[in-house]
């Protein structure tokens, strides 16, 4: 008798069980039509197809590699493609200590990204400088670029990074399509000296 793990006729998984559907936004539907706000549709599309740009400088980057890998699998959240060109990405994930000498580089990467763009600071160092309260370390990346979500931890576990990513998804899904043209947003960028 053959052990179960050598079963040559495994049960086929139901393909429908493996597909996760995004929740439909609020709206009015009927037979053959569905009406909702444009911003909801745009937000739904954006939040489920974020392209992260990993800016990994230290141990938080290693945790992010675990987050991307098969066990935690960031692509379940619509980020199948991790881009390494700022011009193609819309989510800057800063993971690790940013030295003061690296700050202009990070800022340049942020400027190269096209709108709409979001930033997530992963880990204590990126959020506040962490234990490196030192002459050479930037005390939080929010000194040079605006940050949307902070993930605490030193380093945070992949679950925490995923939680931060889902917080970003919530922000993206709820964002008004006019936000990036608003005076408030322009004032925010101007406060960082970014046009």
């Amino acid at each position: 008798m053959r052990p179960v793990r050598f079963n040559i006729h495994p049960k086929e998984a139901e393909i429908a069980d493996a597909i996760s559907m995004g929740a439909a936004p609020e709206g009015f539907g009927g037979e053959g039509f569905f009406a909702t706000q444009l911003s909801s549709v745009v937000g739904l599309a954006r939040k489920n197809s974020l392209w992260p740009l990993p800016f990994a400088t230290s141990c938080c980057g290693i945790e992010f590699m675990a987050t991307m890998a098969s066990h935690y699998d960031l692509s379940r959240f619509g980020s199948e493609r991790v881009g390494f060109s700022p011009r193609q990405c819309d989510l800057l994930m800063v993971m690790g200590t940013i030295a003061k000498k690296m700050a202009p580089v990070l800022r340049q990467v942020y400027i190269q990204m096209a709108e709409p763009r979001w930033v997530i600071a992963v880990g204590a160092c990126a959020s506040s400088g962490g234990i490196f309260d030192s002459y050479s370390v930037l005390q939080g990346i929010d000194q040079v670029i605006p940050v949307d979500v902070y993930v605490p931890g030193c380093p945070p576990r992949p679950e925490a990074i995923i939680d931060g990513f889902m917080k970003i998804q919530d922000l993206v899904g709820q964002e008004s399509i006019r936000r990036r043209n608003s005076e408030k947003y322009k004032a925010l960028l101007n406060s960082y000296g970014i046009q």
Partner: protein, 168 residues
């Protein structure tokens, strides 16, 4: 007969007399000092003398002793004889008000970046260095961070509660 610390010391004393001082040995490594004015002569002698042959500069760094008045800054040379596998440590001290030391970069190519680093962190002015500018820190930095008079912590922070960090 392998090269002995006693022999190195005797050679140095014979050449430089009472200008080389402070001979000591810790964990088998000979250390000594001299006035900063003759640092190149001493390095050149250790390099050229065939029986010594210290032709490799392992390390060059600075030290700050704020309590040694008139000799607050020290430049330390770690030299290596590759044939005999003997290492020695040589240091010169200088006043913080006039931190000029002759550059060793003409003798050792490796001294170039190490002197830039020492300048970067301690502000020691290596006279004759071809390109003495900051190497590791940001160019805008306007102080020398490893001097003891400057706090190690970043002074631009306003969000950290000093009492929580033991400096209230």
């Amino acid at each position: 007969m392998a090269l002995q610390n006693e022999y190195i010391q005797a050679q140095l004393v014979e050449k430089f007399g009472d200008q080389v001082t402070g001979f000591s040995t810790s964990t088998g490594m000979l250390a000594f000092e001299s006035p900063k004015a003759i640092n190149l002569k001493v390095l050149q002698f250790l390099f050229d003398e065939p029986s010594l042959g210290f032709t490799f500069l392992t390390d060059l760094c600075g030290v700050n002793y704020p309590d040694q008045v008139g000799a607050e800054l020290v430049v330390v040379y770690h030299l290596h004889n590759l044939k005999e596998n003997i290492r020695i440590r040589y240091s010169v001290s200088t006043s913080v008000n006039e931190p000029d030391v002759y550059t060793a970069s003409k003798l050792f190519e490796s001294a170039n970046w190490m002197e830039r680093e020492t300048y970067d962190f301690f502000g020691i002015n290596f006279v004759g260095h071809a390109n003495l500018k900051r190497i590791l820190n940001v160019d805008e930095m306007d102080y020398f961070p490893l001097r003891k008079e400057f706090p190690l912590e970043d002074q631009t922070r306003i969000d950290k509660d000093d009492e929580m960090f033991g400096r209230g």
